[in-house]
Symmetry: C2
């Protein structure tokens, strides 16, 4: 905080600060009942160059949930940790307008958002294969795909080579630890309908290798060179981050709009 | 080819084409002795909208080499496959000015480039932990790092939290299959000197978790909040692709230049 504050002052700007709350022991932040919470709040309040804006948390532990009931319990844990932290800060005379929560599973199934001012649920907009694997959405709900073309056949290995490698799909293997491993993505036709049992099994930088997950025969004629395919991603955030824009379609393959992304971190 | 040619003609442009050669059975392309090579060459030559420019190959199999001698043999296999393919095309009256090869291990140790017109070795410029694991470079040769800051301590778990997650480091785990698994990267001080046994063990989108790989005690005072660290990447290509520019330094932490990247695929 001190380092940031000095830099901010030098530039003549004031940086708004959210304190990260640990709601589930999953990663980082302070727990609501840790005296550090108020100590950090006071430090920020008294420093020039920064201003206390509120608290944020992310129930990353929800990704390991086994059922919708589990997710609902996690949602309430997430909400109550954030709201409790805000109340403690306010109880000590500190300002806390923002109460921010945010995992896609918890936000999808939460029944109560009392006291929450902001939801940061990234995958929520598009959904993805990890969420489908968790039961948060269905495969047909996934609204993000990578458009690709067949560029080669390795018939003796049962490989269909496509021009989408990890530079397009990302290296994310979020379904690897789930019940159904989807490789680097589920292969669909141009209309977004999954082609039975076809997944991207491996990726190089600009090449993807599509196989039948059950080692069944490939319909080579159906997947001839030049054929356009859509790949559904493991993790929408990681795949979208490989691009600088979205091509928006709606019920056809005509591009209705282009949305530019704000990339970086 | 036909699809591309039609589109190119419509736009009034001519697309130069390189034929991918399979030199090691690793991925895709045609082998030099496959009659398809000349067939593809003739198809491209006779199509409007495209022009035959040459051949390219990538000895991806070299990443599995066990020794420098192995890599040298692979380099000669790569070179001779590309050159032979070019000669076959030329022998059939087809134009083939470009003979392009390109894996970083083979290019580093190759003794003969006769007949080669272009080298596409991506990691070569920076080197990375995968190359160090292969014996292609030393750790201290790696010229690309991600600048990060300590943002938290989880002392009971032995975790130092940094603000570089996979959005900064990429999801690449190229050293996972090597003798020494470097996690998501080797942790260095601001001057680029590795801090003994510290690696990034896991990553979330914007958070990285640094641990001692041998479960030894962390020097918390040395790694206090706000401390700047540099992370050496598994795979230079994947990590660099997460950014739109390089900050070039030379012997100090002053930024001497900024190099913008051409991203995408």
């Amino acid at each position: 905080v001190l380092f940031t504050a000095v830099q901010a002052q030098e530039k003549g700007v004031t940086i708004p600060v959210l304190i990260e709350i640990d709601c589930d022991g999953h990663r980082s932040g302070v727990t609501p009942d840790d005296p550090l919470l108020v100590e950090i709040g006071r430090l920020v309040e008294n420093e020039k160059g920064v201003i206390l804006r509120g608290v944020l948390t992310h129930a990353g532990g929800s990704y390991k949930s086994k059922s919708v009931d589990d997710i609902r319990r996690m949602a309430e844990t997430e909400r109550s940790a954030a709201v409790k932290s805000a109340e403690i800060l306010r109880g000590h005379g500190l300002s806390c307008p923002v109460v921010s929560i945010g995992s896609t599973p918890t936000v999808t199934f939460a029944r109560d958002f009392t006291g929450v001012s902001e939801v940061r649920a990234g995958v929520y907009l598009f959904q993805d294969l990890v969420m489908a694997g968790l039961g948060v959405c269905r495969i047909e709900d996934i609204a993000l795909s990578v458009l690709s073309s067949v560029i080669g056949h390795r018939k003796e290995k049962g490989w269909v080579i496509i021009d989408a490698g990890w530079m397009a799909l990302s290296r994310d293997r979020g379904t690897a630890g789930q019940k159904l491993d989807q490789g680097y993505g589920v292969v669909c036709d141009i209309d977004g309908n999954p082609i039975k049992d076809l997944i991207v099994k491996s990726t190089n930088q600009e090449h993807g290798v599509v196989v039948n997950r059950n080692d069944q025969d490939i319909n080579w004629e159906h997947l001839k060179i030049g054929r356009a395919l859509r790949i559904l991603p493991n993790h929408a955030c990681a795949t979208a981050a490989m691009f600088d824009r979205y091509h928006v379609i709606s019920g056809s393959s005509e591009v209705a709009d282009i949305w530019y992304r704000i990339n970086g971190w």
